[in-house]
Structures are given as C-alpha cells and as structure tokens.
Amino acid sequence: MTKRLKIYTPFISAGIQETATYRVDLIFYLLGDVLACFVSYFIWKAVFISSESEFLHGFTMPQMIVYIFLMFLTSLLIYSDGTYNIGEEIRDGSIAMRMLKPVSYNATFLFQEIGNKLVTNVILIIPLVAGVEVVRTYVTGEIQFNILHFVLYLISCVMAYLINFFFNICFGFIAFIIKYLWGANMMKNCVVGFLSGAIIPLAFLPDTLEKVFLFLPFSSLNYTPVMIYMGMYNSSQTAFYLGLQLFWVLFFWGLSKLLWSGASKRLSVQGG
C-alpha cells in the first residue's frame, strides 16, 4: 500500500509545481469568486430586509450571512475541474500519454489535483476560516467557533472533494461517450449549483423537494459540510450525513472505473 502510494507522490509534487507556475491565474480566479460571494451577500440582505419576520425557513439573517461565506469557502476547498481536464485531454489526445504509464488513470488525475489543491487550500484555509469567524462573531455578537464542528467539517470536506472529483470524472467520461462536452458541462454546473445548496439553502425548498435533494449526491458536496460547521445538525444527523457522504464516494469511485473501461475502448486518439 505505501509502495503503491509512493508511485503517486510524484504526481502530487507535479501538481504543486504546476500551481506554483500559474499562481497569477489563481489570484484572478479567487477575485472572481470573492466578488460573486459579495453579490450573493447583498441579494440575501435585500431579501431579509424586505421580509417581515426574523426567521426565514429557520435561518436568521446573521446565519444566512455565515452560510453564504461558508458556502464560498467550502466550494473553494472542494473544487475539482476533472470534467474540463478530461475533456481537454480526450480532445487533444494527450490522454494517450497517461495511458502509456503503468499507473491508474484516475489516480494520476486525483493526485495531481490534490497537489494543486494542497497549495491553494493551505494558503487559503487559515485566512478564510479566520475571516468567516470574524464575520460570524460580528454578526451574531458572540464567539461561535467550535473545534469539534470544525474537525468534522474538514473530514466532511475531504469526502465532499472525493465525491466531487469522481463525479466530475464520471461526467467527463459520459460527455465523451455522448460526444457533447461543452453544453453539458455548463448545464451540469448550474444544476449542481442548485442541487448542492450553493445558490439557496436546501431548507428553503418545499419539504418533499428538500427530502429528495438531501438524498441526492449533490447535497453531500457543499451542504453537508456547511451545515456541520454551523452546528445545524445534532450528532445522529451528523453521523448519518457523513455516512451518506462515504456511500457516495464509493459509489462514484466504482462508477468511474466502470465508465473508464467503456470510454477507453472508444478513444480515437488523433494525430500522428
């Protein structure tokens, strides 16, 4: 096992160096996200001001603000662009170069991306968590930070990332098999954004819809970690949703293996 992992450590370092090379891109990318976060903040502020009651579907305005910033943080931490990368590699044929190496195709992607994320996440997590906590303390009037929630949040984020990664890989293979990547990717991002609670909290939806969405894999992406962080779940709920996350990790991991064997037979590596 350690020997097998050792094979993949070079991919982590390759990923780290890649990110280091393109750090300016990273800054611009972050600025865009911060902007989107503030837009969302002002919209929700307007919604709360225009509403009569203090609670909206169990959320107070301060909680809503914390929710927005946590969503932003979580989306960043679990971000994965496997669909895009796989699509590109299939299109330009460089996927062949991965296939010629005696390593697992998915794993090289995973470890390379973990390398990428190691840089961004380590740099980002401390200032961002501190920022969220400052906002939280300010809007609620007292210190809310809970170390247990925070640790569970990190665990939940790791699983959310793995779900996101394998889901994106699966999606990339399907898009390749049906040969229609770009439109599909756009649509996916919108739908996932909605179903994962990144746009509005799932608690705002009608009860039956909320129940359905909570069982779909997408709520395991952003919603579960954020709710855990905010302490919205009791311990049995937390255990249940972490279990559900684990289930989805395994599900998409298995599915990606299956789809890869289908996709690899259809490759038509062009050029040469």
Binding site: P10, A14, L100, K101, P102, G272
Partner: protein, 337 residues
C-alpha cells in the same frame, strides 16, 4: 516477441456539411462514414530486431503503433506483444514497453527534466543503482546535461525529442515503439538518437519498431522493413532484397565543359527508354541522369556518353533506397511480381 495478426481499425467519421445549417443537421442527424485506416495487417518481429515500419503519409503507421501500444482498441484482429494483449491489463503491459510519439511529448510540461526522470523512476520502479547507470548512459549519448534543469515546456524541439527518447529507455523496456523519433531534427541530433537506439538494441536485446520518413534512419538501423500503404501491407523483407529486386535505377553524374553539349545526348531514342526509366536534370553545371540499369547497362551508358561529349568529371551512383521507395510510393513498380 511481437505477433500481429490481421489487425484492422475503422474510424467513424462524422461528415458535416459546411456552415451553420450543416452544424445543425450534424447535431440531429449525423451522417457517418466509416474510414478504414488499417485493413488487415499481419507481421511478426523476433526478439532483438529493429523493424523499419514505413509507408506514405496517411498509410496507417501511427494507427498501427497506437494499437500495438494499447491506446487504441482494434476493430478486429489482434496483437500479442511480449506474450500480452495490450488492451488487457494495461498497467502491467505498459511497464515493459517504451513509446515515443515524435509529434507530441509524454513528459510533464511544467516539470524540470531532472524531476521528470525522478518521477518516471518511481512509476516504473527502477532500482537506484540501475537508474544511475541508465542516466549516465543516456546522458552520454544524448547529451542531456545542457538542459536537464529546464522545465520541459522551455525545451527546443531537438532537446525535447532527446528528452523523450531518454524517458522511453529509462526503465529498460523489452520493446520500444518509436513513431517518427527524428522528425524535424538536425543531423547531429539525428545521429545521437540513432546511436542511442543502436546501443540499447545491441546491449539489451531491445526489440524496436521504428516509423520514419527519413530513410537513412532505416538504412542505418534496421535490416528488415515492413511497408504499408492505404492500410495494407505491401512489402515485408530485407532492405538488401528490396535493393536487388527493385534497385535497377542508377545515377550518372557529370560536369560538362560546354553545357550546350547536352543537346547531343539522345539517350531516350538511342536506348529506347520508357518515360519512367529515364530522367535528366541539370543545374547549369552538373548533369544528373537517372536511368534504368536493366534497359541500358552502366557500361553502355558510360561509353555512349563519353563518345558523344567531353566531360570534366563523371561518376556513377548505386541505386539508393530513397529512389526505390519513391518509385514504390508512386506505385511505379509492381510488388507482386
């Protein structure tokens, strides 16, 4: 070592009519066409042989290499290399082969070359002592030291190709697949690459399949060639056989004292050459006469030429492989006789 049996590959090609309307039509009712790139090819390569795999542009060479290396799945037929089927158990299979596609690199774009090799060492599980020995050898032949600390994306074409060749040999593969490893390189780099291939073949008994458009590669490295055209095998044998069988062309080169004398030479009517059997070119100083040796023997050509005109310098060249291949590609000689 390599057994290829009736290998076929068809591609499905979407025919799109031009313009926006065509795009819409292709979206809803795609119009497919089947292109047969490789049409039933069989050959065997014993251990330790360097096989020259040639053919005109679009013949299907790269497609065959892709199937042999397991990145394309054959439509039908099979290949067994090193007792394994490339599309089954990919990880195990690729560990024992080395591949270079001259057209694109297999190295990590952003990694310095030295790190790239360190990565490959881990992936292929090469022993430390073995790795050192190999790097030393490759360094010596391919002169990697000059650019070993540069990221791959900054390398020149020739440097990158040397780096790629070294990468393909690092783990001492049993079979090497080289698809145009000398494309776009200067003579010195070409020499280095040929030397590396020759050495690893001699020292490690590595089996090599080599495609190229530079016939000097083939002449210097391999004894046997397989030629394909339009997806079919058209020749399989020794280069020497090819030469003795189809190499009736000779080249007479001389310098005239007076270029106007050229009009006095009437090879065509005198020897009754057909169109394909003779070509005369001159650059104002020297004259090149290509002719078919079986129609007019060299001695006759020489004595006729010298009897008609006075020359400063004259030489006769043997059939060169390039000329034969040129005629084969243009299908001037029938391979089935």
């Amino acid at each position: 070592m390599i057994h290829v049996d009736n290998l076929r590959k068809e591609f499905k090609k979407v025919n799109k009519e031009p313009g926006l309307k065509g795009s819409f039509k292709a979206l809803f009712k795609p119009n497919y066409e089947i292109v047969t790139a490789v049409d039933g090819i069989s050959f065997d390569v014993p251990k330790g042989e360097i096989l020259g795999f040639i053919g005109p542009n679009g013949a299907g060479k790269s497609t065959v290499i892709k199937m042999l290396t397991g990145i394309l799945t054959p439509t039908s037929g099979q290949c067994i290399i090193n007792e394994q089927n490339p599309t089954q158990n990919r990880k195990k299979y690729v560990k024992e082969i080395g591949v270079v596609f001259g057209q694109r690199t297999q190295l990590w774009w952003d990694l310095p070359l030295r790190e790239t090799y360190a990565v490959l060492k881990e992936i292929y599980e090469v022993e430390e002592s073995e790795y050192k020995k190999r790097m030393e050898f490759l360094n010596e032949v391919l002169e990697l030291d000059d650019f070993i600390t540069s990221p791959v994306r900054t390398l020149s074409l020739g440097q990158r190709m040397r780096a790629d060749i070294a990468a393909s040999m690092l783990h001492n593969p049993k079979v090497l697949f080289l698809d145009e490893p000398t494309i776009g390189l200067d003579v010195v780099v070409k020499d280095n690459i040929r030397k590396a291939i020759e050495k690893i073949n001699a020292e490690e008994q590595t089996t090599v399949i080599l495609t190229t458009h530079d016939l000097a590669d083939i002449e210097l490295l391999s004894k046997r060639i397989v030629m394909i055209d339009k997806g079919n095998k058209v020749f399989d044998g020794k280069i020497a056989d090819l030469k003795s069988k189809y190499g009736q062309m000779r080249e007479l080169v001389f310098i005239l004292e007076n270029i106007k004398d050229l009009e006095k030479l009437e090879y065509k009517s005198h020897f009754k050459f057909k169109d394909d059997d003779l070509s005369v070119t001159n650059d104002g100083i020297s004259v090149k006469v290509r002719f078919n040796n079986s129609v007019a023997p060299v001695a006759d050509m020489l004595s006729y030429t010298l009897s008609k005109i006075s020359v400063k310098d004259i030489s006769v060249k043997d059939a060169d492989i390039e000329e034969i291949i040129r005629r084969l590609y243009k299908q001037e000689v029938d391979l089935n006789d």
